[in-house]
């Protein structure tokens, strides 16, 4: 009684309405709040840079960034930069994610693969892949090879870890069911293990692909004339904040796009989830 009545005046012995205490902890979808935060932040920066309260050295004017963006679009340079970057991203991430899923499934299914590969993956996971870039240049050449390799390597490890975790989490009773009906090993893997691991694999991909975008900039450090990463690095070395921000915005948009893509895939592939 004391607890439920806390915070309320107790007058006499009259009935006290039970205090509601079940609120919160239930996220609701409030999309406009996110938009509002962006708008307010950008408006503040615009006002700050125009009034001189924020110096030109600190932040560029959002309108100038927009103008730079428009210039990029109109000159066709945007696509000159986007095309190689997207190619690197798609090829690198596809290589890394597919080998990652394959190795992850192997680790999930075979004890020898697990015993042999899990320590190896644990050993290469924390290596900053950027540190290996010069080595990749020697192994795979300064052109596209080293860039694919860097992105592939960076997406590989998180995908492996996510995948074998997902395979481990596949409901064992479903696998036993498959065996009890005399399903072949390959049928069990294709029809039970892989679809069952799909949620885990997809949420792993969400992280791996974000890492791929991060690594895009690193991959384009060496020998890239065109590419969003190269564009950002060049802007940085020229201390051209408008271009730097325009490039960063493109990367952000790319991230949002990839996330939306995976969201779409999840809707399509994982509609069966409760």
């Amino acid at each position: 009684m004391a607890d439920t009545g806390a915070g309320k005046k107790r007058d006499g012995d009259g009935p006290i309405e039970v205090r509601f205490r079940g609120g919160g902890f239930a996220p609701r979808s409030l999309r406009w709040v996110g938009v509002a935060v962006f708008v307010v932040l950008i408006a503040m920066v615009q006002w700050g840079t125009e009034s001189g309260w924020i110096s030109a050295l600190t932040l560029p004017k959002p309108t100038d960034v927009l103008a730079t963006f428009r210039e990029l679009w109109e000159s066709g340079l945007l696509f000159k930069h986007l095309q190689p970057s997207l190619t690197r991203l798609v090829i690198g991430a596809a290589l890394g994610a597919s080998t990652g899923i394959a190795i992850g499934v192997l680790i999930g299914l075979f004890s020898y693969a697990r015993a042999g590969l899990v320590p190896l993956v644990a050993a290469i996971f924390p290596i900053p892949k950027i540190a290996l870039l010069p080595l990749f240049v020697i192994w795979f050449g300064i052109d596209e090879g080293s860039k694919y390799a860097l992105i592939a390597f960076g997406t590989f490890t998180p995908t492996v870890v996510a995948t074998y975790g997902a395979v481990d989490n596949v409901d064992r009773s479903l696998i036993r069911m498959g065996q009890s009906f005399g399903l072949s090993w390959s049928s069990i893997v294709r029809k039970i293990v892989l679809p069952g691991a799909m949620p885990g694999i997809l949420s792993g991909l969400r992280i791996s692909l974000a890492i791929a975008i991060i690594l895009l900039v690193a991959a384009e450090m060496l020998g890239a004339e065109y590419g969003i990463g190269a564009y950002i690095l060049e802007a940085g070395s020229l201390y051209d904040l408008e271009r730097l921000f325009a490039g960063v915005v493109i990367l952000s948009l790319l991230g949002v796009l990839v996330s939306a893509l995976i969201g779409f895939l999840e809707k399509r592939l994982l509609g069966w989830r409760i």
Partner: protein, 273 residues
């Protein structure tokens, strides 16, 4: 027991040539824990044999041994006689947790067990339609498991088991995950299924009402290590058994007398660790 067997054989007519299961001196250990000791049992074709016993007595383990999902430490599980020629999976399980693939529809879950036998297209559709009709699921063929109630899910699992035309159904507490009302309804369904087309089943349960309602023979196992304490048969045809039926009630009470001490001992054993 032979009498019961022939009786069932008469009922099923020529449909089931009959494949009996014979357990020959089965013992089993998990590590140092002995779970089953020297179990010998005949499971005749066309009969439902219920395995009851206190929790932890190894009845589910015994079922897995019969189904070949585990290897017995000692003794053998024998198939006597050939399964029907059209049986795709002679020993077929129905699990307590249904074990439906959540990403496949009702139809897809049944088709899963046919695909590996190369049954597709028209033949597959005919079988699926048949088993869904028999389990009263024809209208839900395209539904996903998440849309179904517990009782419907278990009917899907039963339909799936029927699709492979099993010689023996191995049912591991199939109704335990369901509420009491649903359980009653499903028992009626099982009785109707069996009456229409008798099947052989080993039915594991800890619920004596289910055993008395469905079992031709009820095998009582002792607490761990599980041994056969008693085999009780009920002659009343299962389609005629009703709740509160005096014969059934007597058998139920008898079973409870047999099990009470075992159950208490098993319970205390668990507390003692």
């Amino acid at each position: 027991m032979a009498a019961v067997s022939s009786h069932a054989g008469m009922l099923s007519g020529s449909y089931r040539v009959g494949m009996d299961i014979k357990l020959d001196g089965i013992s089993h250990h998990y590590g140092h824990t002995e779970v089953l000791r020297n179990i010998s049992l005949d499971i005749p074709a066309g009969q439902i044999v219920c395995l009851v016993g206190p929790s932890g007595c190894g009845k589910s383990t015994l079922l897995r041994l019969i189904g070949g999902l585990e290897r017995p430490g000692n003794g053998r599980v024998l198939q006597v006689g050939a399964p029907p020629a059209d049986s795709l999976n002679p020993l077929t399980f129905v699990f307590q947790d249904f074990a439906l693939l959540p990403w496949r529809s009702v139809k897809g879950n049944v088709s899963l067990v046919l695909e590996d036998h190369g049954i597709r297209g028209k033949r597959s559709k005919a079988i699926i339609d048949d088993v869904l009709n028999r389990t009263k699921l024809a209208d839900f063929a395209d539904a996903l498991p998440k849309q179904l109630s517990g009782g419907m899910k278990q009917r899907v699992a039963i339909a799936r088991a029927l699709a492979v035309n099993p010689a023996v159904m191995l049912m591991d507490e199939p109704l335990s995950a369901l509420d009491a009302q649903t359980r009653e309804l499903l028992m009626d369904d099982l009785v109707a299924l069996w009456t229409r087309q008798p099947f052989t089943a080993v039915y594991v349960t800890h619920n004596l009402a289910e055993a008395v309602r469905l079992g031709h023979t009820i095998v009582v196992l002792s607490r761990r290590p599980g041994r056969i304490r008693e085999i009780i048969s009920i002659d009343t045809p299962i389609s005629e058994r009703r709740a509160g039926d005096p014969v059934c009630q007597r058998k139920h009470d008898l079973l409870w007398e047999l099990m009470r001490e075992e159950a208490r001992a098993a319970d205390e054993e668990l507390i003692d660790g």
